[in-house]
Symmetry: C2
Amino acid sequence: MTDTIVRTLSAPDAAAAAGAAAAAVAATSREDRARWLEAVADALDAAAEDLVPIATAESRLAEARLTGEVARTTGQLRLFAGVLRDAGYLEVIIDHAVPDATPPQPDLRRMLVPTGPVAVYSASNFPFAFSVAGGDTASALAAGNPVVVKAHSGHPELSRRTAAVVAEALAGAGAPEGTFGLIEGTQAGRDLIQHPAITSGAFTGSLHGGRALFDLASGRPTPIPFYAELGSINPVVVTAQAVQQNGEGLASGLVGSFTLGAGQLCTKPGVVLVPAEAGFEELVAEAMGEVTAAPLLNSRIVEGFGQGIGSLAEHPAVELVAGSRSAADAEAPAPLVLVTSAAEVVADPEALLAECFGPVTLLIRYASLADLESALAAVEGSLTGTIHAAESEDVSALTALLAPRVGRLLFGGWPTGVAVTWSQHHGGPWPATTSVHTSVGATAIRRFLRPLTFQDAPESVLPDELKESNPLGVPRRVDGKLEV
Amino acid sequence: MTDTIVRTLSAPDAAAAAGAAAAAVAATSREDRARWLEAVADALDAAAEDLVPIATAESRLAEARLTGEVARTTGQLRLFAGVLRDAGYLEVIIDHAVPDATPPQPDLRRMLVPTGPVAVYSASNFPFAFSVAGGDTASALAAGNPVVVKAHSGHPELSRRTAAVVAEALAGAGAPEGTFGLIEGTQAGRDLIQHPAITSGAFTGSLHGGRALFDLASGRPTPIPFYAELGSINPVVVTAQAVQQNGEGLASGLVGSFTLGAGQLCTKPGVVLVPAEAGFEELVAEAMGEVTAAPLLNSRIVEGFGQGIGSLAEHPAVELVAGSRSAADAEAPAPLVLVTSAAEVVADPEALLAECFGPVTLLIRYASLADLESALAAVEGSLTGTIHAAESEDVSALTALLAPRVGRLLFGGWPTGVAVTWSQHHGGPWPATTSVHTSVGATAIRRFLRPLTFQDAPESVLPDELKESNPLGVPRRVDGKLEV
């Protein structure tokens, strides 16, 4: 474990340090930055034994889950090292001059370059993977930008210790001073996003908190993008044939998914459209026998869940399918399955389709495709949508219904569990995210890059990636043709 | 010329029609949409003889310029037909399942899909290329989205006639009803961007008007991106050696560029950093003998230029180099060259570095690299930056100074004239644009697309572009490896 002490900075100091470092960080090579990310990953792996107990104490999450999350986090850092070496993310495009065109066309060479300092806001529910050294930090550093992380108040000590590991690894790997900083506190977070040196924000958290920061970012004299992942109820559609074919498996899969991490995942299946007469509710009630309560992350989540579950479970159109509500278990509430109908959802979507962060899911009975259509039309943008159908069933109508509302569309399986790959998309129409970019997977790097086109530049000032001879062998499009 | 009458719609009607058409437009094939764009291009070429005189009358721009602009516009439409057939813009990424990974990794297939209806706001200074059938419309349609254009009040009749040509060509090519609509009026424009069916806005125009619409788009209950190209002073740096080597050529090039289109181009060189003692001012004054005054676009531009030039030319730190100001020529003001010093710019950047839309440029004398650095530090984000140096000169320091502030960096030549190519970038740090995306060139299509990832989808529901066998031969990344 490192002995480095990370001084938590004031927002202006942290932003100014990042601003001062931006040119030096941008000037580093892709290979240099790949080594930084690997150094951070190695250091985190080495520190895992020390960090996990702190995380357990602060987040109340289980040790096995947190140990797995460290591996996910370091895997994420290493993925971006691979993205850097691949160089496809630079989107290099070269058009040679066409002197006899009307008007004559100059030589134009485009690539993506870093935007500058990025403000990263940690989430409470992934104290490693969406926190100090998480995907936003990894992708922003990979892009060539300094990062200032706003620690989450739910795991302050873990944030400081992780920041120390990151800072020491970066310094050891030769990253410029100011490449990485940490701030704490709600007001500091607000100050950070309004600081002139900051060029974008990245956030995972609540709709309320994210919207407030989004409004500050958009309202600046110099507005900046605020890439926020906010809220998602992740609709699941189960067909009658699917229940017939594998009802028990689906019921236990659903229970496992909506209670994973005590239901505190942004991809939790929050509403499940179930055929009215197929007996699925009974199967879910049976499967609920297997689960036990787990503690929620912190008192703010406990309070929010209490309020959310109150208005949902006491709604006149909602019945209890399984689980119990008792004042005694507020810190570790028992998982709950509720049920209503498509018609009720259409009548009162605001109350029935609000995200409720914690171990609850709402079944919605449907009797027809028309029911499904009207209920799904009331669902706001989500990170995911899931279809459970029988193997032979035609799912094209369901696909067409769900695709416009989600960023990831699953056929079978459950939305919790987000693979960190080249093709992953973790985003969706508002309020799932505020932008058309992902916060998980290789293409998350696109958020922190901007195009720069060189016109008629002498070879001597061109970045190696744009030189005619392609000395670094980057994939590129030349005169309209892709070259790999 | 078409006899179709385009009924200008109310904003809610136009948005609702676009919303109703969105699914049908999104479901069309790339080849279908390529044919739509070509049909629109062919129809505009055929109608050019009728449209150009209307444009001349409404915009006061010269016939030759407008005829060339029609060709640029139809070339733009055809470029996007090529972008569609190329299919690289879909960013297809496939990761095959890895069942024995921990946790098991599903089959994931990502591509970009249309976002939905786009609101396009026309500009006054390019009545064809940045108007009803301009680049924003072309790229939004290419992406698979319905478009509602807000006509510019500077050329209402041309807008209606162009819209009729576009609507008839689209209908003839089989585009669904509601694919294209036209609205008029400032309030209608404000209503449009706030309509729930609209998923993004695209705008070229003034900082004031663009910021107002950006604020409305960001402030919606469901915020949407507003891709605006706003203001740019396009700094040019001329070295002493460049003046020695080719002073006369540079002087006449500058005069030609800043007076092109009566100085009403967003890429007009608005400030030129010139060596204090090199005699460049005299050469520019000589070159000014060649130019004549041209009428400004409309009374709002006349008024704005009058105000801007008033505060600039009467600034105590500014001297006149060439040209004259007289109340008589307000409608077609004589081109003006002014001069100040780097120190004065640093002392009062707000007054001296404000964009002044019309035939004026401000020379800024510098005596040292430190002067250059401090003056450029005061320049806000610009679409372009230009370096004029002697052939043997090392321009790496100037490149490093300009690159962070601009979207296109020119070595020699002049920023006016924006080639429509794969590699073009027409954008830059605020206030040049509000986003990291371009509004000109092939990659402008990225603004109107969002990723969608299919997880474990049966082959039968996958779009052809994501099918394992790649029946359409699209470029893609498979298991991390690019395939062309």
